[in-house]
């Protein structure tokens, strides 16, 4: 303990001693002087002469100045003093060329800022552990089936999996839903999640007040309960504690509030979205809940027992699934529980995108570093003289190296600091540009990890661009430099600079190719045929008044007819259709069937699948889908008429080949009597612009809403989609429809209006985001590279002023000089382009192999490559233009006179 304290005390005194200065030094001089005198006196006493005595005393002391020097070094901290000197000297050097300093710092700030901003996104999304206890134990659970790798789980299977497994601490399920909330002002639609009791305890979420659902309270037939969010609690109950125990009327039933969930609970996983209401899964008012055949969009999450690996748990669940398959051969054939780690499940879709962007932004910083290295090289030519003189005077190489590195690190750290400021703004911009579906966006923030990243990147950048000129300087011959007197032609130096520019051009080209391919992908996507006319199409949700729930099929149909007529009469609306089941670009649903010529299949897996749209006659007009054959569903395809279906051309080709589908019969799984195909329409893009063509399930079948069986008609009342076509803009149209609907019955709600155009834009939002960022990075790179080119060519012209002047004096044409400069620059650009193209091709192959960022274009798309090369050559030549003009204007007389 003591020696350490003594050491610290000494360190502190030495630090202070650095600034102590002259008094201490004078004191020591006095002390030393008296020492010498005493010694001399002793020597005199011993019989030496005055001269001998003095000489001996000085020898024993080892020299007066040496003693003072040793003392001074002990007094302060020598290495610190050197650093301080370097810093002050560096500051002076940087202040002497403010232009260079500002350009370098701004360049670095942009480069480091962009890297930091993107890293904070990557860190928040990919690297940070999830904010739940032991997140590594969390998995998502799905039912894998022949058609769906991660399909949904039927309620009864969930219960069996929950009971039979041996490797999970807990297994829970959820399913999204919505309720019409009445009795608290105007009726409103509230999003909700049906969850099983273990859902929140499994995640370690604790209620703010009240309690969570107890086990068994989530079973079918229990008392209706509800958990509310902190936001909802504040909005509806003013955060009063007596909210617990109150009753909410949802879809006409009374649910007792048992607790409030914390506002920071913000999970997005599978189909689960944190929302305002959570209801036990047993309260799901779908009669199919108890049907082992019906998965109903239920997905699960689970926590592994401590020490259990994913593979062990997966094996265990396989055992459980196989047992169920034996017990329920019809319902559970081919159904297997599938576990996916939580974090992977959340980020797998964005990981390739973020990795590509991080790589791109790294390139930009690299180009920025090269630019500064280039500027430093030019400066180092000017400073070669200074360094030659200094080393001639005995400065060691390490000392000079330290000096240079101190300067470059000063630049990079200042740049980094500014970059940090830029990044805190940039992160906000990125978050706004980000596709809405980006997982964990709320967790993106400046953390210690991000700060260390910035520091590390700044140091690395400073070392990188600082070392390049150093190596240069040390390679040159001291004497030559001194002889040249600073005019230095230095061919090797020029060559290094040329290589840096070629490197920059190549890297820039890679980024440009990336951005170009993204732009081409988006362009291709915008050419994809949606199969309908998105313009003017508005969709929204409609929930009938709670009184209509369970009203019986006759009343329901009457209600549907009336509501349809009312909405159709709203101003601006020229076509309307209710829609249930699938809706293009937003939700999907499947129909199972077999053809008339086939025997009834034994299990669902042996049946054919098609996307199911339950619509009304107005759908064709509202969506603007072309009718290819026969007729569309009509108003007389109702409960009294034979069952009619309309199929799309994909369905027709796949199941009827060249035969005319109209008049053919197919057997829908849920009906005893067959349905007749009455018409064929064009294929509608169901899965989004980029995914539809590659989705295995593309056949589409339309059925009339009026022909739905009673049970499903009841479900329609609890929420359906409405598709309208309106000549008004979306807001006005929705406003007038809302008025109409509320006039009809103030307990029914319309919600979630969306235009088809917005839905289509959303489906390519991820791509648009990466296109914008990549284009911004590529643009920055191009700007930096052109600055680099400009610098090098300017330097070239400056160096060759004499030569050019002499040539001109000997009769060279000014145009020739101009051309000569452009050729020199152009040669660099061409070399860069060639190397860049090769690198880009290789890199794009890699990227397209692990992500689906490209759509409809090959990595070697000739148009993109040609356009990008052309762009780069134009920019490169433009960068050469000014120096070339300067070369042209050289006055030969002036040059010769100064020679």
């Amino acid at each position: 303990m003591r020696p350490l304290r003594a050491k610290l005390r000494a360190l502190w005194l030495r630090l202070a001693g650095m600034f102590g200065g002259d008094r201490a030094r004078e004191e020591f001089a006095v002390e030393l002087e008296s020492h010498l005198q005493m010694h001399i006196e002793d020597n005199l006493r011993a019989g030496m002469t005055q001269e001998e005595a003095r000489r001996d005393a000085l020898i024993k002391l080892g020299g007066f100045e040496q003693a003072r020097q040793a003392y001074r070094e002990r007094e302060g901290l020598p290495w610190f003093e050197t650093l301080w000197q370097d810093l002050r000297f560096g500051l002076r050097m940087l202040a002497k060329s403010p232009g260079f300093t500002v350009v370098a710092i701004v360049t670095l700030a942009l480069g480091i800022g962009a890297n930091t901003a993107l890293f904070s996104v990557v860190n928040g999304v990919l690297l940070d552990p999830l904010p739940y206890p032991h997140p590594e134990e969390l998995v998502t659970v799905h039912a894998s089936k022949p058609n769906f790798d991660e399909g949904s789980i039927s309620y009864l299977n969930f219960r069996d999996w929950q009971r039979d497994n041996k490797t999970l601490t807990a297994l829970a399920v959820s399913r999204g839903t919505g309720y019409s909330l009445t009795g608290m002002g105007d009726a409103e639609e509230v999003r909700a999640e049906l969850v099983s009791s273990d859902f929140f305890p499994l995640l370690g979420v604790k209620p703010v007040i009240g309690r969570l659902f107890a086990s068994h309270e989530d079973e079918i037939g229990r008392e209706p309960l509800v958990l509310i969010s902190e936001g909802f609690w504040a909005r509806k109950f003013g955060s009063r504690p007596d909210a617990v125990g109150k009753v909410l009327t949802l879809d006409g039933r009374n649910y007792t509030i048992v607790g409030v969930l914390p506002g920071r609970f913000n999970l997005t996983i599978n189909n689960f979205r944190a929302c305002d209401l959570y209801v036990p899964i047993g309260q799901f008012q779908n009669p199919e809940l108890n049907n082992r055949f019906a998965p109903l969009g239920i997905h699960g999450i689970a926590r592994l027992k401590p020490g259990v690996t994913l593979a062990q748990a997966q094996d265990d669940m396989l055992r459980v699934s196989k047992r169920l398959e034996q017990v329920y051969p019809e319902a559970d054939q081919g159904i297997r529980a599938k576990l996916v780690p939580f974090q992977y499940a959340m980020v797998r879709d964005v990981r390739p995108l973020l990795c590509v962007l991080m790589g791109a932004v790294g390139f930009v910083l690299l180009i920025a570093c090269v630019n500064i290295a280039n500027l430093l090289l030019v400066r180092s030519n000017a400073r070669a003289q200074e360094f030659a003189v200094r080393s001639a005077l005995g400065a060691g190489r390490t000392r000079l190296l330290r000096q240079l590195l101190t300067e470059s690190l000063m630049l990079s750290l200042t740049g980094g600091l500014l970059g940090l400021l830029l990044a805190s703004l940039g992160t906000r911009v990125i978050l706004q540009l980000l596709p809405r579906q980006l997982p964990r966006a709320a967790e993106i923030h400046m953390s210690g990890m991000v700060l260390s990243f910035t520091l590390l990147v700044s140091l690395a950048a400073g070392t990188l661009f600082g070392l390049m000129p150093c190596l240069k300087i040390f390679r040159q011959n001291l004497q030559d430099t001194l002889k040249e007197g600073g005019r230095g032609a230095g061919g090797a130096r020029q060559r290094a600079q040329n290589w840096l520019v070629v490197f920059q051009m190549a890297t820039t080209l890679v980024l440009l190719v990336g951005a170009g391919l993204m732009i081409r992908s988006l362009e291709k996507l915008s050419e994809v045929d949606t199969g309908f006319r998105p313009r003017g199409v508005l969709t929204f949700g409609l929930e009938a008044s709670p009184a209509m729930i369970g009203a019986g099929p006759e009343a329901t149909r009457a209600y549907l007819r009336e509501a349809n007529a009312r909405i159709a009469a709203a101003p601006g609306v020229d076509a309307v259709s209710f829609s249930w089941a699938a809706l293009p670009m937003s939700s999907d649903d499947e129909e199972l069937f077999w053809l008339d010529c086939e025997p009834k299949p034994q299990s669902q897996n042996a049946m054919h699948w098609a996307i199911r749209y339950i619509v009304e006659p107005g759908y064709l007009k509202a969506m603007g889908i072309p009718l290819l054959k026969g007729r569309f569903l009509a108003s007389n395809d109702d409960e009294h008429a034979p069952r009619a279906v309309v199929v799309d051309d994909v369905f027709a080709r796949k199941f009827f080949g060249n035969d005319d589908p109209v008049g053919k019969r197919i057997h829908l799984e849920q009906f005893d009597e067959p349905a007749i195909v009455v018409g064929v329409v064009g294929h509608v893009n169901q899965w989004g612009l980029d995914n539809d063509a590659v989705n295995p399930l593309r056949a589409e079948v339309y059925q009339a809403m009026m022909q739905l069986p009673e049970q499903q008609l009841g479900l329609v009342m609890m929420g359906m989609d409405v598709v309208v076509h309106s000549s008004y803009n979306a807001d006005t149209a929705f406003q007038s429809i809302r008025n109409t609907v509320v006039q009809m019955n103030h307990e029914q709600v319309v919600y979630n209006p969306q235009t088809m155009e917005a839905l289509i834009a959303d489906s390519v939002a991820g791509r648009r985001f990466s296109m914008i960022l990549l284009a911004a990075f590529a643009g920055t790179a191009l700007l930096l590279a052109s600055i680099g080119m400009y610098g090098v060519v300017s330097y070239l012209v400056a160096q060759h002023t004499r030569e050019i002047g002499v040539r001109m004096a000997l009769g060279a044409d000014r145009k020739n000089v101009f051309r000569w400069v452009l050729t020199r620059g152009g040669r660099l650009a061409v070399s860069g382009a060639v190397i860049g193209i090769v690198a880009a091709l290789a890199l794009m192959q890699v990227i397209s192999s692990f992500s689906s960022l490209l759509y409809g274009v090959r990595a070697y798309d000739p148009w993109t490559l040609a356009a990008v090369i052309a762009l780069m050559m134009v920019v490169a030549l433009a960068a050469c233009y000014l120096p070339a003009r300067r070369a042209m204007r050289i006055d030969p007389m002036q040059v010769l006179r100064t020679e």
Binding site: R2, A10, L13, E31, E41, A67, A70, Y71
Partner: protein, 113 residues
């Protein structure tokens, strides 16, 4: 002169502390002479290295200094041991004795045979 030993690295501080303990307050020149005498003039001390060593000990708080007058009325800086210095001396002396004892065992003729 050639057969004199240089002062080993790290031992000078201990010698200074011991000298101060024996002699009481004393100036730098006195310390130097005393160290040479005690060693029986076998040690060759570069007086110039003594002062940084003194400064180090002072910075570490083991010794303190004040200006005074020498025997022949010359202004000189006198050094004296502090309380922590006394403890440090004990500690270092003990460590040193231990180290030399161990080395002595290696160097003396084998006792166990």
């Amino acid at each position: 002169m050639g057969d004199k030993t240089d002062v080993w690295q790290g031992t000078l501080a201990l010698m200074v502390l011991k000298t101060l303990e024996t002699m009481g307050p004393i100036h730098g020149y006195g310390i130097a002479r005393r160290i040479e005498q005690t060693s029986g003039n076998l040690l060759s001390l570069n007086y110039g290295t003594l002062y940084p060593a003194l400064l180090k000990l002072e910075q570490e708080g083991y010794i303190a200094s004040e200006w005074g007058l020498s025997e022949n009325n010359r202004k000189a800086k006198f050094y004296k041991l502090t309380r922590t210095g006394r403890k440090q001396l004990e500690r270092e002396a003990r460590d040193w004795e231990q180290a030399t004892a161990i080395l002595a065992r290696f160097l003396s003729p084998a006792e166990e045979g």
